[in-house]
Amino acid sequence: MDQPKNKRYGMVIDLDKCTGCGACMVACMAENNIPFRDDDTDKLLSVSWMHVYRLSNGKPFPQAEECFLPRPCQHCEGEHGHSPCVSVCPATATDYDMHTGIVSQIYTRCFGCRYCMAACPYHVRQFNWWDPVWPEGMERALNPDVSVRMRGVVEKCSFCYSRYQTALNRAYVEGRRELAEEEYQTACAQACPAGAIVFGDLNNPRHRVHRIVQPDLAHGGRPRNPKAFRLLERLGTHPKVYYLTGRDWVRRAGDNEVQKS
């Protein structure tokens, strides 16, 4: 069977545009059936595929500056798809798909050893410490395109893979095999009122992500755009989520640096 060209789905988040409003988080929660609890204030016990960090430049008032950094799963490519989390899963519950560049997580395969969580430096992986419970009636808002996760498994952002599946379904029914850029967008990119999140195929020069980032695909997708950077570039995880900023301190906050004095 002939196969369409491989995609490398990725995201660019303009940190100078992001306002930290949280629409991406909520849109993600609604799209992906994220459970909520009476007390979700301990963010280390809470499930949220998208987390908005609040970065500070560490300077005193009034030189203090802040920046908001939304963090979905980085969908690391590593070397040949061996992202930090994928190779450690003992039960093949998480995988890197060369056709899309998406790191999958199969909740029914996962048995909750949490090795992947220890492996991920971005803390994108979250464990279902509790049974998900919806107050009576609110389970009606659950999206059937995304499985509800049971207690005891790890979950993470899938780049709204279910939206890819349903978009492909529509395309197949209409006799097409390829998707237009706007046909497959993640919930966060779609919702962002500031237009800070751009999503698309990094392999496709016509897609906005490619045009913005200008990825050097021969070198793990390093951005050629000088304003673009990736989190923890030095680790060699080769994430497919890029960040844009014109502020130097924000850029520096994206990676660790040994001070040469």
Binding site: M1, Q3, N6, H80, G81, H82, V86, S87, C89, T92, A93, T94, D95, Y96, D97, M98, H99, T100, I102, S104, I106, Y107, T108, R109, D145, V146, S147, V148, S158, Y161, S162, Q165, T166, A167, L168, N169, R170, A171, Y172, V173, G175, R177
Partner: protein, 225 residues
């Protein structure tokens, strides 16, 4: 306190043991066979009977009869929706298009009209092929793209004149068709089982190119959600 010397009875028992051996050997073999037979009976006969509960479909639908009347075969009632999804078991609204009133004096049709059409109640069909929630099955990919016939997975359902009983796994809540009706999991036809391995088998045969880094087969998200 007991006798400090205890080696005597042990040495005494040894020849006795050998003596008993022949007579007891037969008994041992017999009991072994008894145990074996009993457990095989339990495992192969009693267990499957206990594991599944049998349910009848709400309406005994005659596929063969309908297939003769309709113009587009299976697709007449089971079609692709505009959202790319597959309609699956028809909604009452579809049935009503022809069955506002009973078209025959078939008692089953009359009952269907009385119990469902008139009160406007959806028919709670039991879907033999219903997959677990974690599965994303794209009819579009298989039928439109792959050109696979319905029967490859669903068997000659369209030729049936009556709906066979639906068996539900008491533990998992799923249809017996998923594991297959053969309790040993032996399949003779492509539609005999619908477990993940069966999907994978067909994908391997069809040389669906694998994107998985871990397995070199299909990526997990191809069939999961």
């Amino acid at each position: 306190m007991e006798e400090p010397k205890s080696s005597a009875p042990s040495s005494r028992s040894e020849p006795g043991q050998g003596g008993q051996g022949d007579g007891a050997g037969g008994a041992i073999i017999l009991f072994f066979i008894l145990g074996l037979a009993a457990s095989l009976l339990v495992g192969w006969v009693a267990f499957p009977a206990l594991l599944y509960s049998e349910k009848r479909q709400p309406v005994d639908f005659n596929h063969a009869l309908h297939n003769e009347i309709v113009d587009h075969g299976c697709a007449s009632c089971h079609f692709f929706r505009a959202d790319g999804g597959f309609s699956g078991a028809p909604k009452l609204a579809q049935c009503i298009e022809c069955h506002r009133e009973a078209n025959s004096d078939d008692p089953e049709e009359i009952r269907f009209v009385e119990e469902y059409v008139k009160p406007g109640r959806e028919v709670p069909w039991l879907v033999y092929a219903r997959q677990p929630d974690c599965v994303f099955f794209s009819h579009a990919a298989h039928v439109r793209l792959g050109g696979i016939d319905c029967a490859v997975c669903h068997g000659p359902m369209g030729e049936s004149t009556s709906l066979r009983p639906y068996q539900e796994n008491r533990i998992t809540g799923y249809s017996r068709d998923i594991w297959g009706w053969n309790i040993a999991g032996i399949k003779r036809n492509s539609w005999d089982r619908m477990k993940m391995d069966d999907c994978a088998e067909c994908h391997a045969q069809a040389r669906v190119p694998g994107g998985s880094v871990q397995t070199q087969k299909d990526g997990c998200f191809v069939c999961h959600k």
